[in-house]
């Protein structure tokens, strides 16, 4: 902020004070601020509380300055004539000479004693003029456009639009409803040529398939003739498109965005733990978008993870406990299913019982699972490993979202180690009772249906119909990741929080409650834990890494609790580009 000085010539001038800190003094709308050298004017204005309208500028991408929407008026001190010293006013600043023409704020950096006016006649009329030009060929598509409601063009039309068109000629027609990729639809008439998508595909996704063809008013966004926009990151282009030119096929015409409620939570498809926003209406998830977290996923997320939510609303969801009678699964209630379970497990020898848990479980669930194993007196507790290919960006090779948490809570470096011995035990018949929590062991863990038929008791808790459930004596309906609260630790050792966006279907229950109730049914103790916060409290008391934390303290962007040394490749890349000055964010 500004620092006033007296007329004392010994006192340092504001420019010297700022220079000592590597900062410069900038006057924005009449108030002096200090910013680090090299800050873009648009970022400086944002920090001063003025969000300048813009289309092409994105902090994570290079700045081409193509939309001209962020025009501001700029002023600099006069250049002193040779042999004269600059004149400083009473406040220690030089006089600002305002330029008669505007400059773009997104690609210019701030300088010492610079003045920026984000309002005023010149700036307002520039914005109005730019808006009128952008809307010349824009179709009247808003009622059918998926972007309506979150469209920058709509927002700025309200502030700077004319309300009617002075354009008397025929609008330029361009291709509409173009199929440019499996997940993205292009409408060229809506495009305002900001080139965000082109720069994203080139600079972040590393698959430069998009580009402009033609010139002037006929400029058209196109995909390379021999290629499709089929990158696993293609849906991010729809996110950053400020208008409705690129829209998602999956979300196309599903729901208007103004009906949707946003819930910040995290993705559970791999160890990165991408921060996401779940968009729901009523109890239906309509879409998932990435949420900015510069320590995890920047502003992006892979399509494969983003679209993996349709099972939540599917007909195959379990909605009530099922018990197998005469090779047929019949619906039952929780009390009788837990009683059956307890009756079989109570007398059983611990060594004949095994638990297969999941790396997709939250810390709280894993903690309760460990307690359950201790209650049953079994050493046979394992998670199911889930690996895939590391794509060098955001998708990690470890597809379990909470492997790090499992290592901490179960107190072992390899929580998957005992899976083989459990499988052998089931085959040889030494293991008689098997509890499978949140996993499909036939598909993912190499079990065979005939192996499972040998068991006395097979209990599975899962969200949807699966092959293991066919063999199970008891199937318990569990919650999907948008229906849970809890915490997970990602591969870099950052604890992050899942928030509940939707309610569970019918009689399904949260996983931690299922595990708690199984434990209680076996011990016969009275229920004393009712809140997931209390489970976290017990966890924090038991595992030192979680001490001093609780679910609300984790916050929406998480807290680092451990240094695993793992680097998210996309962030390494982004930091290098930032250091090189290519991007500002």
């Amino acid at each position: 902020m500004s620092e006033t000085i007296s007329a004392n010539p010994d006192q340092k001038l504001p420019k010297d004070l700022a220079a000592e800190k590597g900062m410069v003094n900038v006057q924005i709308d009449g108030t002096w601020h200090q910013f680090p050298k090299g800050t873009r004017m648009i970022e400086a204005a944002r920090q001063a509380g003025q969000i300048l309208p813009h289309y092409c500028y994105h902090p994570k991408l290079s700045s081409p300055g193509s939309c001209r929407m962020c025009l501001v008026q700029m002023g600099m001190p006069p250049r002193p004539a040779p042999g004269t010293d600059p004149a400083y006013g009473d406040d220690g600043y030089q006089q600002i000479n305002w330029m008669p023409r505007p400059v773009i704020a997104c690609a210019n950096t701030v300088a010492e004693n610079m003045g920026i006016r984000t309002t005023g006649d010149i700036v307002e009329s520039c914005r109005k003029g730019v808006m009128e030009f952008l809307l010349i060929n824009h179709p009247l598509d808003c009622p059918i456009c998926d972007q309506a409601g979150e469209c920058r063009l709509q927002e700025n039309s309200v502030s700077y639009g004319k309300g009617q068109s002075r354009f008397v000629d025929t609008k330029v027609k361009k291709p509409k409803n173009v199929d440019i990729g499996p997940r993205i639809r292009l409408d060229d008439e809506r495009c305002i040529m900001c080139s965000r998508c082109i720069r994203f595909m080139d600079e972040v996704a590393g698959d430069p398939v998009l580009g402009f063809t033609q010139r002037g008013t006929h400029t058209t966004l196109t995909v390379h003739p021999d290629r499709l926009l089929d990158s696993n990151y293609s849906l991010n282009t729809a996110d950053i498109c400020p208008v409705g030119a690129l829209t998602s096929n999956d979300f196309r015409f599903q729901m208007r965005v103004w009906f949707l409620k946003e819930t910040p939570t995290i993705d559970v498809n791999c160890g990165t733990g991408t921060n996401i926003t779940v968009w729901t209406r009523g109890n239906t998830v309509h879409r998932i978008t990435p949420r900015q977290n510069d320590d995890v996923n920047s502003c992006w997320m892979p399509d494969s993870h983003r679209l993996n939510f349709h099972f939540i609303d599917d007909k195959t969801r379990f909605t009530e406990p099922l018990v197998k009678e005469d090779a047929q699964h019949l619906p039952t209630d929780w009390k009788s299913s837990l009683d059956t379970l307890a009756a079989k497990l109570k007398g059983a020898d611990g060594s004949t019982t095994a638990i297969i848990a999941s790396g997709r479980m939250t810390n709280e669930e894993l903690f309760l699972t460990k307690q359950l194993a201790e209650t049953l007196g079994t050493q046979h507790l394992s998670l199911v490993p889930r690996t895939g290919e590391d794509d060098g960006m955001l998708v990690a090779a470890d597809r379990n979202p909470n492997t790090t948490g499992a290592k901490l809570i179960l107190g072992t470096e390899d929580p998957f180690a005992k899976l083989d011995s459990i499988r052998d035990g089931v085959r040889s018949g030494t293991i008689k009772n098997l509890l499978v929590l949140g996993e499909d062991i036939i598909t993912d863990a190499g079990f065979h249906f005939n192996d499972l038929a040998k068991l006395d008791l097979l209990v599975q808790s899962h969200t949807s119909a699966n092959p293991t459930a066919l063999a199970a004596n008891l199937v318990l309906p569990a919650a999907a990741f948008t229906e849970k609260r809890g915490s997970m630790v990602n591969l870099t050792g950052r604890i992050q929080r899942l928030n509940r966006a939707t309610e569970m279907p019918l009689d399904a229950r949260d996983d931690w409650e299922i595990i708690r109730d199984i434990t209680l049914a076996v011990t016969g103790a009275k229920k004393d834990t009712f809140l997931i916060e209390d489970v976290f409290k017990q966890l924090a008391a038991a595992v030192p890494e979680f001490a001093d934390l609780n679910l609300s303290r984790i916050g929406d962007t998480g807290k680092p609790i451990l240094d695993t040394g793992y680097q998210i490749p996309l962030l390494t890349n982004e930091r290098a580009r930032k250091a090189a000055g290519e991007i500002t964010g």
């Binding site: 009622p143 015409f253 009906f259």
Partner: protein, 188 residues
Amino acid sequence: MAVVKVKRPKLGFGEKIYLGALAKGFLITLKHALKSLAGKSIGADSLKSSGMGVTMQFPETRWDDQLPEYYRGAPTLVTDEQGRERCVSCQLCEFICPPKAIKIKPGEIPTDDPWAKVEKRPQEFDIDMTRCIYCGMCEEVCPEQAIYLRKDYLITGLSRAAMVHDKKKLYEIGGVRTGLVNKWNELK
């Protein structure tokens, strides 16, 4: 502003016992009763009297031709001269509807349809007439001139389900409306 104190009027004895005023009222009533017996009620014709007094015998006799232009009856969907369903399911009416009577499921127009360029139309469009308050906001907010309040006011049904107007019923009541803005033509 100055406060004006209003004085209560002073009532005489006759006014205080109000028997005179009571008798006056009875006489007026009797006058009208006799008039209606003679078939001479005031305004009987304009109020569509069915004989005795001014009472209209609804539903045998209807008021329909007297409804003003701006009468707000059942909300309906309309088609235009070209037979195109005007609604593009932008869901603004669903958003604005104060009692949440409107429910729309948007859908895509198949590419082989003559109006494929419009891209979007409702798959399902339900208006729950037990909820509708006939406020006309849906008509006002519609950017496509697709929803209009018609003069139908006799909305009856034997069950709640029967009171929900689906897309077919809405187009049936709405019919064709001509002279609307046509922004989806070839030139656009």
